[in-house]
Point group: C2
Chain length 264, copies 2
């Protein structure tokens, strides 16, 4: 069971994104939470607070976006609560999923010696990916079916912050290798003064999966690349303690936080 609330002006800019994409995203972020546990989503309830002006047309567009995303993963919208008020648009979705395979994959379960892997490439989601991503539901299930996932999370608050959740919950440490972190093509197009690596570590809303497996399984996965159309990258290892970024062979303490986009 997972829940996520999207607030206008904080999680999205309605005028820029359009209601259809906002509805799509509201559903997708919840699906991504189910993916993070390698679950199979099946039902959602949707509550909305609609602005009085144009609320009905807005609701319809939102709904179509939600349905499009929910249908992609055979998830039913089974109910909700529709309200009108004088505030901005707010959407709250709660989703139910089944555990698959050997049960849900948790944040807890990583052990020293594990390899840390990530799906896809990171950073720069603000350029569109944060609205248009497809949650890694199928990829997570595929991985779960063919290897023993020790711990997993989806990257919603940035790699540094979310990988640290694995560390906290598992009671171990982690080293991420700077040179190994896959950078999204969008990162190079950003014109602020953060480095590409900073973006990959700190940007929120990649909605990729970061997970740990035994070193042997990690080696096999990276070699076999068993998920069609998706690159799995080995970005680090679990260690006994500490949260580290290794740059050119030297370890630095890594601050476990993402950064907020100007929008948020």
């Amino acid at each position: 069971m997972t829940t996520d609330m999207l607030l206008e002006g904080s999680c999205f800019v309605l005028a820029e994104a359009g209601a259809h994409r906002v509805g799509r995203k509201a559903m997708a972020v919840n699906l991504s939470d189910i993916a993070a546990m390698a679950g199979e989503p099946f039902a959602a309830v949707v509550s909305v607070g609609l602005p009085r002006q144009g609320g009905r047309a807005l609701a319809e567009e939102l709904y179509h976006g939600m349905r499009e995303m929910a249908d992609t993963f055979q998830t039913s919208i089974i109910g909700g609560d529709t309200n009108t008020w004088n505030g901005p648009l707010v959407i709250s979705i709660t989703m139910l999923g089944y555990a698959t395979g050997t049960g849900p994959v948790c944040r807890k379960g990583a052990v020293p010696g594990d390899w840390v892997l990530v799906t896809g490439a990171l950073g720069g989601s603000i350029r569109g990916h944060h609205l248009d991503f497809t949650p890694r539901v199928r990829e997570a299930q595929l991985l779960h079916a063919q290897t023993c996932l020790h711990a997993m999370i989806d990257i919603s608050d940035g790699l540094a912050q979310d990988a640290h959740h694995l560390v906290e919950e598992s009671g171990c440490g982690m080293v991420l290798r700077a040179e190994a972190i896959p950078l999204s093509g969008e990162v190079a197009k950003l014109t602020d003064n953060l480095s590409p690596l900073e973006h990959a570590l700190r940007d929120g809303e990649d909605f990729e999966l970061v997970f740990t497996v035994s070193a042997d399984e990690g080696r096999r996965l990276v070699q076999e690349q068993p998920v069609p159309g998706l690159t799995l990258t080995h970005i680090g290892e679990c260690v006994a303690a500490g949260f580290w970024l290794e740059v050119e062979g030297k370890r630095h303490l890594l601050e476990p936080k993402g950064y907020s986009h100007p929008m948020t």
Copy 2:
């Protein structure tokens, strides 16, 4: 599974009610939805959008109110999503309940000849009851355990509107008898120009239960009054078709709608 969203300025006035009572109410309205199906609530997730100013203190007060109400019915708050934004306070709760006894009681199931009964007294909830009510979770279970409830709903939008949901879903009609509808003591204290009966029919947020049973069972329940501390009142019957208010023996069509409080 049920969900309810409360919006500041629309569902409550924060400055008047105080955050503790608002938290209590946010939980109670969801519990009332579980009560409407004679369910046993067990888990809730809570999402909030907090104003930036004073958000933390507000969150704590809300939480204490929620916990107080949830604890009363052994319901765990198992997670949620906490956000800060530039908008007013918004709270969205989704709750899970188990079916009890012979299964969930639905809106569908009323048949012509059924008696219509209501718990407690109606109208005037704006004077405080809408914040301070205790959802009829235990009463619903007690009734469900000892009689065959054909159809049931909680009164959140006013008797006229919610009783009509039973009619719609069950595909029958209903006659409510004006003289039989129990008026809350608060109704007399309202100083607008609506009649006490209008208030009892139209006021939202009574959070009493209206349900139908066979005539024999209805007669028994009214005579035996099996729920300690609660009066069950016979307010009408199900008929083949139509939605009626009987006043001094004469039937009038009853408009199936509540009215919005000035606040809403």
